[in-house]
C-alpha cells in the first residue's frame, strides 16, 4: 500500500471508530489526527472539512458492508425470505462482537448519524438518505422475488421494504439503549411478518 493511501485509510478507520463509538459532534479533527498518527496539514490534504470526512466514512462503511455481510445475507441462492433472517443474524452478531470489545453496543453507524445530523446538515442527511435507499432496495427486490416465487401474498414492496428497514433500525436503537444485542435476536425474526398492502 502506498503511503498516501495508507494515511487516508488510517484517518478513515479512526474516524469511523470514533464517530460510531461516540458521535459526530463529540469528536474533533485533532482527536482523529492524533489517533490516526497523522498531521493536521495532511488531514486537510485528503479531507477539506470534517463534513467531507464524514461523507467518506459513510461511503467507506456502506461499501464495506455492501460487499461483506449484506452481500452474504442477500445471497441470490437463498430463498428470498430466508435472506431476512441472515440480515437479522448479521446485525446481532456484529453488534454483539462490538459490545464484547467496547463494553457498549454501538448501534448502527448510519442510524446514529441520521438521528444526530438530520436536523443539522442537509448534505449529510442527503447522503444518509441515499444509503438507506440502497438498503431499502435490497429489501424491496427480495420482497418482489418472494411474491414471484409464491412465498408471499402480493404487497406494496416499496412500502413494506421501508417498514422493514425502519423495524430493523428501530430494534437496533432500542437494543443500543438497553445495551442488549440479544433484543435483535428476540425481535428481529418478526421482520418477515411486516406486510403493507397496495392501495388500489
Amino acid at each position: 500500500m502506498n503511503l498516501s493511501t495508507d494515511t487516508r485509510s488510517r484517518i478513515l478507520t479512526k474516524a469511523r471508530e470514533l464517530f460510531h463509538g461516540r458521535s459526530y459532534a463529540d469528536v474533533g479533527i485533532k482527536e482523529i489526527c492524533d489517533g490516526a498518527r497523522v498531521q493536521k496539514g495532511s488531514f486537510y490534504h485528503f479531507f477539506p472539512s470534517k463534513r467531507d470526512l464524514a461523507l467518506a466514512v459513510i461511503d467507506d462503511m456502506a461499501e464495506d458492508w455492501a460487499h461483506g455481510f449484506v452481500a452474504e445475507a442477500f445471497d441470490q441462492s437463498l430463498p428470498p425470505l430466508e435472506r431476512l433472517d441472515y440480515m437479522v443474524d448479521a446485525a446481532y452478531y456484529w453488534q454483539k462482537a462490538a459490545k464484547n470489545v467496547e463494553g457498549r453496543m454501538p448501534g448502527c453507524l448510519f442510524g446514529n448519524l441520521a438521528l444526530e445530523m438530520s436536523t443539522r446538515d442537509d448534505v449529510l442527511r442527503a447522503k444518509l438518505t441515499a444509503v438507506f435507499e440502497k438498503a431499502r432496495n435490497r429489501f424491496s427486490q427480495t420482497l418482489e422475488e418472494a411474491v414471484e416465487a409464491g412465498a408471499l401474498a402480493p404487497l406494496d414492496a416499496e412500502a413494506t421494504a421501508s417498514a422493514m428497514l425502519a423495524y430493523l433500525e428501530g430494534i437496533i436503537m432500542l437494543a443500543k439503549t438497553r445495551n442488549e444485542p440479544e433484543l435483535i435476536l428476540r425481535l428481529g425474526p418478526a421482520i418477515k411478518t411486516l406486510h403493507i398492502a397496495r392501495i388500489h
Binding site: Y86, D89, Y93, W94
Partner: protein, 76 residues
Amino acid sequence: MTATVHTLDARGLNCPLPILRTKKAINGLPSGEILEITATDPGSLKDMASFCSQTGNELVSSAQAEGSFVFRIRKA
C-alpha cells in the same frame, strides 16, 4: 458409526461473515453430520458457542491451532 465431516474455511473473514457462512453450510447438511470450521477471527470463539445455543446444533469441540480456531459442530 462415524459421521461425515464437512469443512468450511472461514480464515481471514471478520464477524459476522464466519457465522453467516457457518449457518449456510449447516443448513445444507443432513442431521448428525459434522461441519468443521477454521476461522481466524478471535470473536468466533464466542460467536460459535452462541450460534450453537441459538440454533440447537451441538458444538462438539473448539480448539486453537497455529493462529486459527477450529470448531466442530454437529447438525441437530
